[in-house]
Symmetry: C2
Subunit: 384 residues, 2 copies
């Protein structure tokens, strides 16, 4: 029976190949001033975002549910049901950029079927992109410039004892210059996200394409690994140290697979949130491998540590640190915990090559990190 | 407040970088004989699959829900609640391979938070991989052979009036042979899925890596486009003809971007379900571009059409068809609608280069299509 339904459905659909307007409340046109979010699934009109106020309307088909809410940016909004079992709700104006959200059905947080999912907080969550005006052009697709590729690669890690998935951004010119080598930026996601975060939620390829096309950043390879240590079903207990995997499995694999410069002057590492912390840990224990570093919303120093003892004493000898590290970039949004005291402490300690970047009006969220990458990437590597 | 919670969480997590066993019922060890599915999120132990019987156990945390079920392969199974609000359910033995499924909470179909999501039936569904023995090695990662890359690319389509996302598999040797050209297979997904289906649900890269490493298939580029015509928020009405996009936007873009042979003898097209139908439509209207074709679970002929009139009369002149088309490959699972009458009709009509492939014991599902690709890819293109 399953088979015959599927076959019948397939036949029905194939008879009409063109994409037609779909039936259902999620496909009805949104009200004046609202447009479907770019994160919606194929042809869905909801969630719809007001282009002026940045409010969003959500629709959920759930005739058997008792209570439905939309949960976005830390606030739950009750939805109201019409006679056909369609629930509608609207949220307050949202900050520009990408936001995770959930639908709450009878108290259980679930996804909105009208959106694509994005791995965050360790589950596949719904996401919504709140548009803005021309400022956001730097992270949108620009048809008038050349585009790099994000390559999905599995490689074997001896330390992990398992294949590991990475994404590698390769600049547009890479294949046109078969004799040219490139510097490499290792770019890490945060807690609860995965190696797809920077390319999907962060639009890093659009950002890098624009920076490279305009000459603001040098053409570079960007490697986006997983910050978690996956295990297989037979050994489902976490083992190993992810910083060792980065330095001793991943870096050699990249240098073998791509046309890279393999000296430290041509290698940078940066990460957001926990990825910033992992960057500090990895660089501090492998100073021979990296000469540029950035931490976006993630300059965390452990409770008992001060500048002298943090990260294996990396900053203790300020002169030695400055000689080795061309850049220490620390970024944060104004609406989240500030690293200002640590930036001041670093400078007071003599580390005056710290660059402090602030994202106005944003919290621990993707607009902060898109802006950070846009500011960071032009600062690394030296034109030959 | 949102910010401080996130920051506190981030700090908490970063203080313990190693991946530790997680708390919660989904992280408790499964019973004897059961193992976590490979489709689970990071470290989740459920769903867990019995390696012998192929039954699966699911766990859902939903203390406020009234009724929870798991819905897999066309059958709903009631789950039972313990005193802590954790619902547990077990399904019947499943066919080997990949299956979509949903959790039903108070009558509403939602995802299982313990699994990754896979785009199917036009929403981001939960998926579960049911393992099998050595037969399945062909679609699993093999650490002892070279691996190709799946490249995620956005290109501008004039016909669509929008950027289109494609995935392109490039064989392992591609970058080691900068002077060599490659044949191209265009491989299309089915209704309700998207351009990620073949690489994620289908494991096509593992299949191709194995076929190429063993010499069974020639090194080739495999292009996986979207079979839907996305529209932007300003023009959210479907326009255009996807077969025209394939032939007149996509093929030229690929030939410009990759080192391809650009003659029809080096170009094949295949698809599953609706993608098989799209293959027949595209090839029939662009016989000058393709010399090999395959349709997996998708040889659909419209109601009024017979062999002579189907697909713009492509088969009418059997000799002419055979002269142009080196292979017509028609595949199906034994548990779905059979194309046998059409295969017979084609042969009776003189088209004796039809290859009919049957997948034993499988329905309209991914194991059918993994097997079809494994059988099809070695048959296309001619060794130079």
């Amino acid at each position: 029976m399953k088979t015959s339904i599927l076959s019948a459905l397939a036949i029905l659909i194939t008879l009409n190949l063109s994409a037609q307007p779909r039936q259902g409340p999620q496909f009805e046109p949104p009200p004046e001033g609202f447009k479907p979010a770019s994160t919606n699934i194929f042809l869905a009109n909801y969630p719809a975002v007001n282009q002026e106020t940045r409010e969003a309307i959500f629709k959920v088909v759930a005739p058997t549910a008792q209570h439905v809410q939309v949960d976005i940016a830390g606030k739950k909004y009750d939805m109201t049901e019409d006679t056909a079992g369609v629930w509608t709700g609207m949220c307050d104006p949202q900050v520009v950029g990408f936001h995770y959200y959930a639908i709450v059905i009878d108290g259980v947080r679930v996804t909105d079927k009208n959106t694509l999912t994005f791995f965050g907080s360790n589950w596949e969550m719904s996401g919504i992109e709140i548009p803005e005006g021309p400022e956001g052009d730097y992270y949108r697709f620009n048809k008038d410039i050349p585009h790099g590729q994000v390559r999905s690669i599995y490689y074997w890690s001896d330390i992990n004892g398992l294949e590991r998935h990475i994404n590698v951004y390769v600049p547009a010119e890479y294949e046109k210059n078969p004799g040219k080598k490139y510097p490499v930026l290792y770019l890490v996601h945060g807690w609860g996200e995965n190696e797809n975060g920077w390319s999907r939620q962060g639009h890093m390829a659009n950002i890098m394409d624009g920076l490279i096309a305009s000459g603001k950043a040098l053409p570079m390879i960007v490697v986006m690994p997983s910050g978690d240590i996956n295990t297989n079903s037979d050994v489902r207990e976490a083992t190993g140290n992810v910083t060792e995997i980065y330095a001793n499995d991943l870096v050699p694999f990249i240098d073998l697979t791509f046309r890279t410069y393999t000296d430290r002057e041509h290698r940078a590492m940066a990460g957001l949130s926990r990825g910033g912390f992992q960057t500090c840990l990895t660089v501090s224990t492998h100073m021979d491998k990296f000469a540029w570093m950035g931490t976006f919303s993630g300059f965390f120093i452990r409770g008992d540590d001060g500048i002298e003892t943090a990260f294996n004493g990396m900053f203790k000898d300020a002169e030695a640190f400055k000689q080795q590290m061309n850049l220490l970039f620390i970024s944060t949004g104004t609406e989240e915990r500030s690293p200002e005291q640590w930036v001041k402490a670093l400078r007071d300690h003599g580390i005056d090559n710290v660059v402090s970047h602030v994202s106005e009006g944003t919290a621990h969220e993707w607009l902060t990190w898109r802006r950070a990458l846009k500011d960071f990437a032009p600062r690394i590597f030296v034109r030959e």
